[in-house]
């Protein structure tokens, strides 16, 4: 450790990550990638669409917020007095954007040659909220169109309906953007309550990826942050979860969208797990997807020959410490066949031995893929954010991949129970 900077190097990927926790609690990660021209800066908060019930930091009272407010806040933070930050970045030739997920929100910029400027603007963007009655009203129109766009998106519908069938109380069943009705209840005061509570340094992180100088970057961040420190209390956030039963809400959910090609998502609700197990489940699921459902799998070949699949079948794990599930998705004009076959196949997998040669070959594929993917800067920040949210060590996924055994795969498959499975169809 040098100047309290923790350095992690990964030889295989040729990357080094520098981590420093600033005096105000903010975590800063800098991933140095020599030779690459693009530099990315991200400023995030561990606050997303599922955090609607919490203690207001300003008065210690428990509050419940309208659905979609984290996403609304993300949009509104770009608005400044008489100008829009998106426009300000764009005028500098820097591209910027943001996204809101279930459990975090991130603001980011990408630049080639204006890194210092971009980083300062990013910090200013996040640190200077400007909410007014008029600009909140204007945003309701724009987000209304964003919601309509998602309502017309079959992928989005088939996925969210699977969540809605699986979960009974958990707010993961609510659209990230909320509904036109719920966002109409948002006003500037409650936006400030959410902002003040979740956008404090203890709850936030900065991630930098690119060919940058580490100590210069830390200085830029510390100098710029000093300007705003007095604005906000920096305290640990108190969020409340819900009690989620282990059973599912409904077995099947169907929606008619006038599609030519019907879509299917099968969800298996699982018991949530400890933080350090989450990445392990992700790695295992990725291997299962490749071994048993990809185009190289026996299952895919059989279904393809029946004409029951025409595109990929994905097997994906999603989870935090308070929800956990698998989603298997595909599209097919013969949904009845593929759906029945998937359930039958999962049961077979649970009782059959795992083919060691297939397992080793798939691991080999993943090692190569990780190297190719590391050329993409987006991959570097995704891995860092994953490790922040799961409080796991950096490159833990690669460590797990090299140590994984067939027993791990088998144990995981055995957690999939038909009685906890749901079927979502959009046609």
């Amino acid at each position: 450790m040098k100047n309290n900077i923790e350095i992690t190097t990964n030889e295989t990927l040729g990357e080094t990550i520098h981590k420093k926790v600033l005096s105000n609690g903010l975590e800063v990660y800098i991933c140095v990638r020599p030779g690459f021209t693009k530099k990315i800066g991200m400023f995030g908060t561990k606050y997303g669409s599922i955090n609607n019930d919490f203690i207001d930091i300003s008065n210690g009272k428990r509050v419940t917020m309208p659905d979609g407010i984290a996403h609304f806040l993300e949009h509104k933070l770009f608005e400044k007095e008489g100008e829009n930050s998106l426009d300000l970045f764009s005028k500098e030739g820097i591209s910027s954007n943001a996204y809101t997920s279930f459990d975090h929100t991130v603001y980011f910029f990408e630049t080639i040659d204006k890194f210092k400027k971009g980083l300062e603007m990013l910090i200013e963007l996040v640190k200077t909220p400007y909410f007014t009655v008029e600009n909140v009203k204007k945003e309701q129109g724009i987000i209304g169109q964003e919601i309509s766009m998602y309502e017309d998106d079959p992928n989005f519908n088939v996925y969210f309906n699977a969540l809605r069938a699986m979960y009974i109380n958990h707010p993961i069943r609510i659209d990230i953007a909320g509904t036109i009705e719920s966002i109409s209840k948002i006003d500037k005061d409650i936006l400030y309550t959410c902002y003040n509570t979740f956008y404090n340094s203890n709850n936030m992180f900065i991630v930098i990826v690119g060919d940058v100088d580490v100590s210069d970057t830390i200085s830029i961040i510390e100098d710029k942050l000093k300007l705003y420190e007095q604005n906000i209390k920096s305290e640990k956030v108190m969020k409340f979860g819900v009690v989620e039963p282990t059973n599912i809400l409904q077995k099947k959910i169907e929606k008619d969208m006038g599609l030519f090609m019907p879509q299917l998502s099968i969800g298996y609700k699982l018991l949530p797990t400890k933080k350090n197990e989450i990445i392990k489940r992700e790695v295992i699921s990725d291997l299962i997807s490749e071994m048993y459902f990809s185009k190289s799998s026996k299952f895919y070949e059989t279904e393809y020959n029946k004409g029951a699949v025409s595109d990929d079948i994905d097997f994906v794990y999603e989870g935090t410490t308070d929800f956990s599930h698998i989603i298997i998705s595909t599209m097919s004009s013969k949904l009845d066949i593929i759906q029945a076959d998937i359930f039958k196949f999962i049961e077979e997998l649970k009782s059959n031995e795992i083919d060691i040669k297939l397992f080793e070959n798939t691991k080999r594929r993943k090692i190569g893929e990780n190297i190719v993917e590391s050329e993409n800067s987006n991959n570097s920040y995704r891995r860092i954010i994953d490790s922040i949210l799961n409080e796991s060590k950096l490159y833990y996924d690669l460590e797990i991949l090299s140590n994984i055994t067939v027993e791990d795969i088998k144990d995981f498959l055995n957690t999939l129970e038909y009685s906890k499975a749901v079927i979502s169809i959009v046609k």
């Binding site: 693009k38 998106l86 964003e146 070959n361």
Partner: protein, 420 residues
């Protein structure tokens, strides 16, 4: 072979190999081309099923292989592409590049053919796969609206055909057509091979590719003019055509199709700047007015088609706001025409285009794409030269091309669900 191009940069860890067949196509042959190349990608004599192919590629440390179809204006390109890791980064320095090149040869030149006939089961499967692809493009409304605009705008031109062809032509493809198509593909289209990425330790890769593919070299050279927009294929509409289409949806989509008249090669830079100012970035006129000022849309963008000299503008709106959105969009185009553009709009647009160009350097695939475009258009322009030319664009250049942009089509994909 002279059609092999190399891009070497040691910041990468992997290598991209792109084997391209480029040819002039007729509207009714698009589906035939696609089905033929899909069949090739699904098995050959040595690796006779998809599963066998993927198993072999897994053993080459997850080498990726697929095919990609693209319209380069009125030309059609079928790309067989591979991505693999440089041996330096693999356990025991195992070389997978040469086996990958050999694999590509097997796929393209050693297909499963019996008495000049491809396998009938695979043919039927790929044909129905393509029919599904054509039918299901309506499932994604915004994308469909843009595709439909391209088609309506270029109705009589090869470019105006969907990348997988249209239903009638796809349905009429017969097994017997495939062998003929295959022969045409390998004998009559121009072949361009690009190898891009970290080529350290592969000094003789050019010779190796030569050795593997030389006997199949066909000496076909593209007419360099055919890639640049040829006036012969361009049909101009006299009046603005307004088209409305009903579909089951919540959100409606408004699009405008525009065409550049008297297009010249060196208009390329000014037209890109034009597009960026009109609807290419968040500070563009469309984003600022349609979205931020009028709150009519979440998406409001424009796109320039370099090899076709056309623009498509698109925005997702509420259907009742159609007239209003149309008025606001038309005002922005009028503003462009009257050169109602600030220095700051010009500069930020140029900046953003230059950043995009610089970013190509971070992607071996973008670098390969540039090498390919250079090869087929007979140029050898570098990223630096592209940037220099972009920097030179002034307001008067944008004003000059803005006067050549003509609106030909206004299209509305209507929301049935929004009718209450």
């Amino acid at each position: 072979m002279e059609n092999i191009y190399k891009v070497n940069d040691s910041k990468f860890k992997s290598i991209y190999i792109s084997y391209n067949f480029t040819f002039e196509t007729k509207k009714d042959e698009v589906s035939k081309n696609v089905i033929t190349s899909l069949i090739l990608s699904k098995g050959c004599n040595k690796y006779n099923t998809s599963k066998a192919i993927e198993e072999y590629l897994s053993s080459l440390y997850g080498t990726n292989f697929d095919i990609n179809m693209e319209k380069i204006g009125d030309l059609y390109n079928i790309e067989f592409r591979l991505e693999c890791v440089n041996k330096e980064f693999l356990p025991n320095k195992e070389d997978v590049l040469k086996p990958a090149i050999d694999f590509l040869y097997e796929i393209i030149y050693n297909p499963k053919v019996d008495n000049n006939k491809f396998d009938t089961i695979i043919f039927e499967r790929e044909k129905s796969f393509i029919l599904d692809k054509i039918n299901k493009r309506k499932d994604e409304k915004l994308k469909y609206a843009v595709l439909k605009t391209e088609e309506l705008l270029c109705e009589k031109e090869p470019f105006g055909t969907y990348i997988y062809g249209d239903i009638n032509n796809a349905e009429n493809v017969k097994l017997d057509d495939i062998y003929e198509m295959y022969t045409n593909l390998i004998e009559k289209s121009a072949i361009t091979i690009i190898v891009s990425g970290n080529l350290n330790g592969y000094d003789n890769i050019h010779q190796y590719i030569d050795k593997v593919f030389e006997k199949k070299s066909n000496k076909v050279v593209l007419d360099k003019k055919s890639i640049n927009v040829s006036e012969k294929n361009r049909t101009f509409l006299e009046d603005i055509k307004e088209v409305k289409e009903k579909i089951q949806t919540n959100q409606a989509v408004i699009t405008l199709g525009m065409r550049v008249e008297n297009l010249e090669d060196n208009d390329f830079y000014a037209l890109n700047v034009y597009n960026s100012i009109l609807g290419g970035t968040p500070s563009s006129k469309l984003f600022q007015n349609v979205r931020e000022k009028e709150s009519l849309a979440y998406t409001a963008k424009s796109r320039y088609y370099r090899f076709k000299g056309i623009f498509v503008i698109y925005a997702g709106i509420e259907e009742i706001n159609y007239e209003k959105a149309k008025t606001v969009i038309l005002e922005q185009i009028e503003d462009m025409k009257n050169c109602n553009i600030s220095e700051s709009e010009l500069n930020s647009s140029k900046q953003s285009l230059i950043s995009d160009l610089l970013e190509w350097k971070d992607s071996k695939i973008s670098l390969a794409k540039l090498a390919y475009t250079n090869a087929v258009s007979g140029m050898s322009i570098t990223i630096e030269e592209l940037i220099d030319n972009m920097k030179k664009i002034q307001l008067e250049d944008v004003a000059r091309v803005a006067k050549k942009v003509k609106i030909e089509l206004i299209y509305l994909l209507g929301g049935e669900n929004s009718e209450k």
